[in-house]
Subunit: 111 residues, 2 copies
Amino acid sequence: MGRTLARDQLEAVAGQFGVLAEPTRLAILQSLREGGRSVGELVVELEAKQANISKQLGVLFSAGLVGRERHGNEVHYSIRDPMIFELCELVCGKIRRDAERQAEAFRPRRR
Amino acid sequence: MGRTLARDQLEAVAGQFGVLAEPTRLAILQSLREGGRSVGELVVELEAKQANISKQLGVLFSAGLVGRERHGNEVHYSIRDPMIFELCELVCGKIRRDAERQAEAFRPRRR
DNA sequence: TCGCAATATCGCTTAATAGCAATTCTTTGA
DNA sequence: TCAAAGAATTGCTATTAAGCGATATTGCGA
């Protein structure tokens, strides 16, 4: 733990972050957080093209972030590793802190 | 907390993940974890081109992940928000679990 | 002020990939 | 067995960014 990673391990980590570096994919994950969804449901909910949702779901699936299950004619996707939400929480916290620091810099100060 | 993020907030989050989606930048962060480093030191340690290290440091700096301080002719960079290491730990954990699950699938089973 | 060392920036090439329209594949119900 | 619905794939365009060599900038010592 805490040891230094070799180049190819860094690439693996970078790859995982890369999967999360896309607003559409994050939107999908956020939606799936509330429960499983079919492709069609996601298309409607996110107001996006079916082809693109399907493609991004493929990326998420390949990365092992979501699971997939066929139900008749539909395919249902669901969160496979809730760790992603911890990740998002951490990042949101950072963004919030940064914004507050930013706001701070503009607050009037007594001299 | 836990509420749903709008598109532009998702973009902000995706942007932060994007900064971490690069092995070279992760290598820089990993090195800085042990302590501040000048650009030149990083160039030597990571065996990379000065122009590229400098560029990636710029990205990390803009993202608020590292701080910068001039010392004479050199510029020293250091970690600004250790949160990133929590992020990396989480991701490493996931990669490890995935790998174990993968190994599991190839282990002989009694029938 | 000049020259050097350290860093940053510029212009470029190359490689990925998001999103789209069109098409194909898959499953079910008639 | 066929038609239609749902999902995946394909071929494409446009955008983005990593890495490179070359050059510009910055700060220091002589």
